[in-house]
Amino acid sequence: MVATFWRAAAIAALALLAGFLLSLVLRPSPTAPAPELPGFYLSKTDPAAPDLSFLDQDGQPRTFADYRGRVLVVFFGFVRCPDVCPTRLFELAQVVKGLGPARDRVQVLLATLDPERDVPEVLKGYVAAFDPGFGGLTGTPDQMATLAQRFYVAWRKAPLGADYTIDHSAATYLVDATGRRVYVAGSDTTDKQLFAALGVLASQEIP
């Protein structure tokens, strides 16, 4: 009787232990709590959403999962933007240069809001002028509209003489190296805070 009780207890304990260990393995990543990044807030955007796909600057079909292991700095803009986009890309190049060895774990991406004009080869040459390591995201108008929507980017084409320009919110987004979390810079976030945030995210262990 007593032996049966202890056997049952041992089996229950083993089952509990096995369940606990299994839960560690199966727990949805990311497991670690999101780090506090001054100047940034955690977005509800899920970069792993199955309908987020695009082309990179080489015309390769991509999802954010393909960039796993690298922290992404995503900036929405377009090549035919003479002032704001070059200014921001120049600043981002300065920040990234200062990272030292951690630079290899950071990827800056210009996500175009003008995919009809900004085909991969246009985007590639453009971003490389700011830093040879910079990349770009483009795709069909639908793909880019979905991407912008999921990142809560407000944008629209606005007429400019016989041409058009694109009004857009100009926040900087960070996708962590697990490809699961998105951080958004506030309107007054400094590049010093961006530099610090990249340092934290680039040194995170990837589960």
Binding site: V79, R80, C81, P82, D83, V84, P86, T87, R88, L89, F90, E91, A93, D118, E121, V122, L123, G125, Y126, V127, A128, A129, F130, A154, W155, A158, L160, G161, D163, T165, D167, H168, S169, A170, S187
Partner: protein, 154 residues
């Protein structure tokens, strides 16, 4: 003696009056400082021009046009933040107040060089002719800094 005194005063008075008339800024009243631009990366078909327009005259003037052999068209654009969006709009008529200045600089006003004939190259200059309502045509040379540079190369 008295015959000569009055005409002289009249001429002097007329000159003062003319110089005070609005829109009679002379070319010498418009001074351009720090004219610069940024090299354009491959694929970019537009460039920007930045400068400070100082009006040393006694009447306001207006920048009404600009042209360059380097681009099909030049417009004055303003970047502004509205409803959380960066917007870029054409400014038809840019007033330069008497005794004041207007800064065209990144994130604010700029000359937009549209449909560039060739990419703008760091270290070169781009000739632009500015047209003012009063001062007429004022030529400037934009010094080209690297892509996205925050200011002209010293």
């Amino acid at each position: 003696m008295s015959d000569l005194r009055y005409p002289r005063a009249a001429i002097a008075g007329a000159l003062v009056a003319i110089s005070l008339l609005p829109g009679v800024a002379r070319a010498a009243d418009i001074v351009i400082e720090r004219p610069w631009s940024r090299a354009t990366p491959p694929g970019a078909t537009v460039g920007a021009g930045y400068l400070v327009i100082r009006n040393t005259g006694k009447s306001a003037d207006r920048l009404v046009g600009a042209a360059t052999p380097a681009a099909a068209m030049v417009q004055v654009h303003e970047i502004r933040m509205a409803d959380g969006e960066m917007q870029m709009r054409e400014v038809d008529d840019l007033e330069i107040p008497a005794g004041g200045s207007v800064h065209l600089e990144p994130g604010g006003l700029h000359l937009m060089l549209m449909d560039l004939v060739a990419p703008l190259v760091t270290g070169t200059t781009v000739p632009v002719t500015l047209e003012f309502a009063g001062a007429g045509r004022v030529p400037v040379e934009l010094a080209v800094a690297p892509p996205g540079a925050p200011g002209p190369t010293p």
